[in-house]
Structure formats: structure tokens, C-alpha cells
């Protein structure tokens, strides 16, 4: 009898034709997640099985809880038999040290060579337990112990508890997106939600030294690192935005600063997306939260690019966003107080309903195309992995 992990797929089972791609990607993602755990991973259409020679699964289970595309994670006992008599003995052995007053048996049988239905097998096993374990009875509605039995073609599995997985789709199955990562609370949450739906994220960050500090950049790197947990690893594009931002500040009426700045960021992000074969932009805009996120502003900003912009938290309240941020562990980092691109050069009265034609007029005042070209040409790419590294290994 061996301990193994049994994985039930999430929504994948509804993807008829693409199911193989989904399962293959999930397997790759799990392999990458468990790269140093020395495990065997095998799969079929309905389940994935993970075997570790040490049979210690505590850490493995918590790592699997960071992988999208998993519905349930189950620690199961693998029996190398499909013979009901042998299964009975093993089952009894497994429940021997368990204390329970009521129980039920739930059977799944993909092995169609057995001439009994699942329900019949359950009652057979249940009867055997009743006979051999004193003072317990069956309760199918509210049992203290649920014994799950899965009989497959060559082996069977018994388990008692399951842990919920994250759900969603395996990262990468839906292609790539560029996440506009600012360092605030909303954008990491938006990124997380896109990852959840199978989008592999690359992030883009706009820095404006000396107006923004290294600490602000380190904060974004720290956030990207948290997202990398779910995204396998993450590529962070850092754009030096100083020249553009200063030009905007000098030449454009201040109530339009933010609108024009956002338009520039959108243009750059769209080009980065194109160059990296990403199909969408993702950002943390939430309707009405700030002046640049009114519907009129969104329209005036969005119209400068053609690729779709997905705003996963557009209809979330701030508190709802904070809840997710706390759950995924980005909140504490997000609230660190460093200046970012959007909080400097903030005009006193930003326009709430910007007019598109005015934006175009004002933009003619600066040679922004050249500046954008330069910023993209010189941009820095940081590859962030989720492996815990100690930068000061020689010192500590």
C-alpha cells in the first residue's frame, strides 16, 4: 500500500477538443512547481497521479495549492489490486486506527470488468466494515467518515479527505497577456485573476528615476515574485518613463497630465505585447476609482490602441479587491509607501471627462513617437522566478 497524490482536474473536463493540451500544460506546470521534489507524475483523461518515494506530501500539497487547473488534491492509498476481497482487507486495515461512529462508502469504478455497480460495491464494503468494526453505523447524509474507493483497471485508491485546489485553467493554455503592474493593490489582483483563467502573464512597469525610487521598483519586483508563484515564472519589462513624463509635464495642460500619461503607457504596453506575442493587456483599473478610471476617461485612453484590454477588477469594490490581495499575499507589499509613476505629477484637478480630440491636439506638442521608440528600445527585462533565492548567501 503506497501513499500517492491524486489530482482531479478543474473545468478542463468541459474542454472537449483541447483537453489534451490542457492536461499536458497542467502536467508541465506541476512538473515545474515540483522540480526539486523528485516525484513521478503520470496522468490519464480523468486524473493525475503524483508519487514521491519519501511518501511525505505535506509540502507537495501546499505547492499544488498554488497551481491553477486543479479542482481537488487528494492524499490516497494506492492498492495494487482490483480484487474486492483484497480491497476489503486493506480497507479494514486503513480504518483500524480511526475513530468514528458513523460512516459511508462512496465508490467510483472505471473498471467495467467488475460485475457490480458502484452502489453495490459500496454496500458490500460497508457491510464488511459493519461486521468487523464494532459500534459504528452507516449514515449516508452526515457521516463522520467518508471512505472513497476508486477502482481502476489495474489498481484501486482509497481516501478519506480532499483539499480544494485553486480551480481555473492551467497557466499558458489561453496564451499570453501583458499585465500593467504599478505597485498598487489592484494590478497584482488583476494579474492573479488573469492567470487563473489560463493566461500566462508578462508584466510591464513604468519607472521615472529620479522621481521614483529603487525601492518602488523593488516593490514591483517583489509583487511580480508573488505572482510568479502562480505563473511559474514572470518576465518583467521595465520602461524608463522619465523623458516622456517630464515632456508631458512641461508641455501639456495639467488637468490632462494623467490622461495623456495613461495613453502613452497604453501605447507602449501594446507595442511590448505585440513584440512578445501577447494577445491582450491586463490592468487593475476599477470603474470610477480615480479620475482616469471614469468611463469617459477609459474611452479616451483606450482608443489609442487596438488590442483588447482586460480589466478583471473593473467591477470590484475596493474592499473586494483588498480581500483577494490579502488572500494571495500581495497586500502587505502593495501598501508599502513608495512613490510610483502615477502618484507623482498628480495635478490638483485632473479632468474627469477628457475629450479625445483635445488629447490628440495636446499630444502634438511633444514628439512622443520618438520617445516611445527610445523607451522601448532601451527597456530592461527582468526574469523573475519563484524559487526562493538568498542573495546574500555568502554573508548569511
Amino acid at each position: 500500500m503506497k501513499k500517492v497524490i491524486l489530482i482531479k482536474y478543474g473545468e478542463l473536463t468541459t474542454k472537449k477538443d483541447n483537453i489534451n493540451l490542457f492536461i499536458k500544460t497542467l502536467k508541465q506546470n506541476i512538473t515545474q512547481k515540483l522540480f526539486n521534489k523528485n516525484v513521478d507524475i503520470i496522468h490519464d483523461k480523468g486524473r493525475m497521479f503524483i508519487e514521491s518515494s519519501t511518501e511525505d506530501y505535506t509540502e507537495i500539497i501546499s505547492l499544488l495549492q498554488e497551481v491553477f487547473g486543479i479542482h481537488e488534491i487528494i492524499l490516497a492509498f494506492k492498492l495494487a489490486t482490483v480484487d474486492l476481497e483484497e480491497i476489503k482487507t486493506h480497507v479494514l486495515e486503513l480504518i483500524n486506527d480511526k475513530n468514528f461512529a458513523t460512516f459511508k462508502v462512496v465508490t467510483k469504478r472505471s473498471n467495467k470488468n467488475i460485475n457490480l455497480t458502484s452502489v453495490e460495491i459500496s454496500s458490500l464494503i460497508g457491510a464488511y466494515i459493519l461486521k468487523n468494526k464494532s459500534s459504528c453505523q452507516v449514515d449516508v447524509h452526515n457521516p463522520e467518515l467518508t471512505l472513497n474507493l476508486e477502482i481502476r483497471n489495474n489498481e484501486s485508491y482509497v481516501y478519506f479527505t480532499k483539499v480544494a485546489g485553486l480551480g481555473g485553467y492551467p497557466v499558458g493554455t489561453l496564451g499570453k497577456g501583458i499585465l500593467m503592474l504599478s505597485g498598487g493593490i489592484d494590478s497584482p489582483v488583476a494579474g492573479y485573476m488573469a492567470i487563473k483563467r489560463g493566461v500566462k502573464i508578462e508584466a510591464i512597469y513604468f519607472e521615472s528615476p529620479p522621481h521614483t525610487s529603487i525601492e518602488a521598483k523593488n516593490k514591483v519586483i517583489a509583487l511580480a515574485k508573488i505572482l510568479a508563484k502562480y505563473n511559474n515564472d514572470i518576465k518583467l519589462h521595465v520602461i524608463n518613463f522619465t523623458e516622456i513624463q517630464e515632456a508631458i509635464y512641461k508641455n501639456i495642460p495639467h488637468n490632462y497630465l494623467i490622461t495623456i500619461m495613461r495613453r502613452m503607457m497604453y501605447r507602449i504596453s501594446a507595442i511590448i505585447a505585440h513584440n512578445n506575442n501577447a494577445k491582450i493587456l491586463v490592468n487593475g483599473e476599477s470603474i470610477g476609482q480615480v479620475a482616469s478610471q471614469t468611463l469617459t476617461s477609459m474611452k479616451a485612453i483606450n482608443e489609442v490602441i487596438k488590442i483588447p484590454v482586460i480589466r478583471p477588477v473593473a467591477c470590484f469594490d475596493k474592499l473586494e479587491i483588498i480581500d483577494v490581495a490579502k488572500k494571495i499575499g500581495t497586500y502587505e507589499t502593495s501598501i508599502l509607501p513608495y512613490e510610483d509613476c502615477c502618484t507623482i505629477f498628480v495635478p490638483e484637478h485632473p479632468v474627469i471627462n477628457p475629450e479625445s480630440h483635445l488629447c490628440s491636439e495636446y499630444e502634438k506638442l511633444i514628439p512622443y513617437e520618438d520617445m516611445i521608440y527610445k523607451a522601448i528600445k532601451n527597456h530592461e527585462v527582468i526574469k523573475i522566478t519563484n524559487t526562493v533565492e538568498n542573495n546574500f548567501e555568502d554573508l548569511l
Binding site: 525610487s213 538568498n390 554573508l395 548569511l396
Partner: protein, 377 residues
């Protein structure tokens, strides 16, 4: 040279010293500065803090660096006392503490606090019944040393904590863990506040650690910070902090194997010294093997220590901080003034070798016989 006074202080480990030098040379920025050098220093400092908080499974914000365990003890006792003056004025400690605890208590008495000293049994274990009796509704703090510095007696902190919290859930529990850290496994979760020191674990002198559970508010001893609510304002001593983080990590390596080795050395010494008629071994079943205390019947401990120095063998009297007085710990355990009047402490390390112990024992014999003959005349 044979150094057998490791409980007074330890030689700094080469690896830790390397860290100290490298950090001093390569990280010149003040961690509080805004520029990149400051950020670089701060990142290193945060990594060092994180390393320690991970090792003890506590929050980063629950750790404060001090100048040493004596300062940490002050921070705990004075800090809790001043912050809880409205809740009560009663503090309990044991008779087996480091002298700094007694001095702090004397000071607190001048401020109107009342101090009780809990009894211990003949093995040095805290008397639980007496502790229960002494805890009052106004008891704000109990401070019990994790490992006594003279006899090496180890207290069951977890159990003591349970007793305290059952009698009065509002009473905080502090432990001076200076002699325990690096020698036996310690857990900050057994206490509310703890004091530690780097120089007892092959780290540099001049730095200590203070643990405070995040629920507890203290009045800081030193004022001068605008930053957050730091308990210990001032420019962080980065090279010392990083060195301490390293020293702690190294000291927890192999802790069991080292203890087993030291235990064998301890047994060897005890077996031989037991045969001397004029020597009493001050060891109970709760003593850790790293610390071995003995009493002379006729020889003055100071004389003996100086005589051994001639052979380049270095031993300790009570604790280095209180040389010259009666050993308060021996007195507390054995209730015998004469026994407490002439004690020496042999403290061992994983660096100690069997050869060193052999040489120590043979020199011991020579010195003992010579001095003993003098007093017999």
C-alpha cells in the same frame, strides 16, 4: 591554551568574522538612507532579520537588536513594568537568574514595583506550586531564565508558561535565553518576551536579540526615533546584525550531535572529579552538559583559577559578571553557604577536544594537590 570558559563568552567564528568584515566593507550605506547604497544595506538587513524570524518561526517585527542580553533584559523588565503600571506593580522572578535581572529588579523596586522570588526544588527546578501561589491579579510579569548560567539548570518554559497563563492570563512571561540559545533547542513561542546574545554563540560582542510578541506594548528605554515605533532607535549596526544572523544559523546546525559530544566530555570530567574528597559536583538532573560547576571545600576558587592559568587553562568562577560574590545559584539549589562560597565553572564547547580535557584533568590534579596540601598544613 585550553579555554574552558565558553559560557562567559565564545571566540567569534571565522565565518562570522568574514561576514562582519565583508559587510563593513561592502555595505557602507545607512539602511535608513534613501539612495541606492542605503537600499542595498536595508535589503541585506531585512534578509538577515528574515533569516532569524524564519529560524524561530516568528514575525520580523517581533525582533529587535540590542547591545546584548543585559540590554534585552532591561527592555523586557523595565519596558513591561512602565507600560503596565496601571495594571499592576508585581513582578516574579527566580533565584537562578543572571545578576542583571536582580539589578533591574532592585531598580524597579525604587520605582514602587514589588518583586517576588519563586522557590526552586533541590534539583533547581522552579517550584510550580510556589509559582501558582505567588501569581496575583496584579502580577504583570514573570521572568525565568531558560538555562541558568552557573549550574546549567534548564527550566521547562512551556510548562511554566501554561501555569502562568492559567493563573493570570494577563501576566507576561519573559525568559533570558542567553545560555540556552545554540546549546539546546529553544522556542520563542514558549514565552512572550526573550533575551539572547550573539557572543555566547560564536558571534561578535556588542549585539543581542530581543523577542517580543506582537500583542505586547512596551515603553522603549531609548527614545529618538521618528521611524515607525522602533523599540531601539538609532542607526542599525548592520555588520553586527548580519553577523548575528549568521551566528544563529550556524549555532543551530547539528545542535543535537554537538550536545551528545559535549555530554561525553562532561561525563569524563565528572567521573574523575568525583573521586576527589574535597570537591562537590554541583550538577542536577536538569543541568545541561555544556556547563559544569564544582565547589571546593578548602581551596579558594580565585586562587585555583589563577593557578590553572599558569598552565594556560582558563576557567570561570560563578558568572563572569559577578565574580567574587557567593554563587547565588549554588546557594539557591543547595542552601549551603560554604558550598556556594568557592565554586568554579567549567564550560564546554563543541570546539573542546578530548585531548584538551585529558590535559585539563592532569593539570587539575597537580594544582589541586599542591593547593590542598597548603591548606592542610
Amino acid at each position: 591554551m585550553i579555554y574552558l570558559d565558553y559560557s562567559a563568552t565564545t571566540p567569534v567564528s571565522y565565518d562570522v568574522l568574514e561576514t562582519y568584515i565583508k559587510t563593513s566593507k561592502d555595505f557602507i550605506g545607512n539602511p535608513n538612507s534613501l539612495h541606492s547604497l542605503g537600499v542595498k544595506s536595508k535589503t541585506l538587513m531585512n534578509s538577515a532579520i528574515k533569516q532569524i524570524s524564519d529560524l524561530f518561526n516568528v514575525l520580523d517585527s517581533e525582533l529587535t537588536f540590542t547591545s546584548g542580553a543585559t540590554e534585552s533584559n532591561n527592555m523586557a523588565l523595565v519596558g513591561v513594568a512602565l507600560a503596565n503600571i496601571k495594571k499592576g506593580n508585581h513582578i516574579i522572578t527566580s533565584k537562578l537568574e543572571h545578576p542583571s535581572i536582580y539589578k533591574i529588579c532592585e531598580y524597579l523596586e525604587t520605582l514602587g514595583f514589588e518583586i517576588s522570588y519563586v522557590d526552586n526544588d533541590s534539583d533547581g527546578l522552579i517550584d510550580f506550586e510556589d509559582l501558582k501561589r505567588k501569581i496575583r491579579p496584579t502580577t504583570i510579569l514573570v521572568s525565568i531564565v531558560a538555562v541558568n548560567s552557573e549550574l546549567g539548570i534548564r527550566q521547562p518554559l512551556k510548562m511554566i508558561r501554561q501555569i502562568i497563563k492559567k493563573e493570570n492570563p494577563n501576566t507576561y512571561f519573559h525568559s533570558d535565553m542567553t545560555q540556552a540559545l545554540g546549546k539546546i533547542p529553544v522556542s520563542f513561542h514558549d514565552v512572550d518576551l526573550a533575551s539572547c546574545s550573539a557572543h555566547k554563540i560564536y558571534g561578535p560582542k556588542g549585539i543581542g536579540l530581543f523577542y517580543k510578541n506582537s500583542r505586547i506594548n512596551l515603553v522603549p528605554l531609548i527614545h529618538g526615533s521618528s521611524k515607525e515605533q522602533s523599540l531601539r532607535p538609532g542607526t542599525p549596526a548592520l555588520p553586527l546584525i548580519v553577523s548575528m544572523a549568521k551566528a544563529i544559523r550556524l549555532s543551530l546546525n547539528d545542535i543535537d550531535r554537538r550536545e551528545a559530544f559535549i555530554s561525553r566530555l562532561n561525563d569524563k570530567i565528572v567521573k574523575e572529579l568525583e573521586t576527589y574528597p574535597g570537591i562537590l559536583i554541583n550538577k542536577t538532573k536538569y543541568s545541561i552538559p555544556h556547563i559544569l560547576n564544582i565547589s571546593f571545600e578548602n581551596i579558594k576558587s580565585e586562587t585555583f583559577i589563577h593557578a590553572m592559568e599558569a598552565y594556560e587553562i582558563y576557567l570561570g568562577t560563578n558568572t563572569a559578571c559577578a565574580s567574587g560574590d557567593l554563587s547565588s545559584s549554588v546557594l539557591a539549589v543547595y542552601k549551603d553557604k560554604k558550598r556556594a562560597s568557592s565554586t568554579i565553572r567549567i564550560s564546554l564547547s563543541y570546539l573542546t577536544t578530548t585531548d584538551e580535557i585529558n590535559k585539563f584533568l592532569s593539570c587539575f590534579k597537580i594544582v589541586y594537590n599542591r593547593l590542598n596540601a597548603l591548606v592542610q598544613k
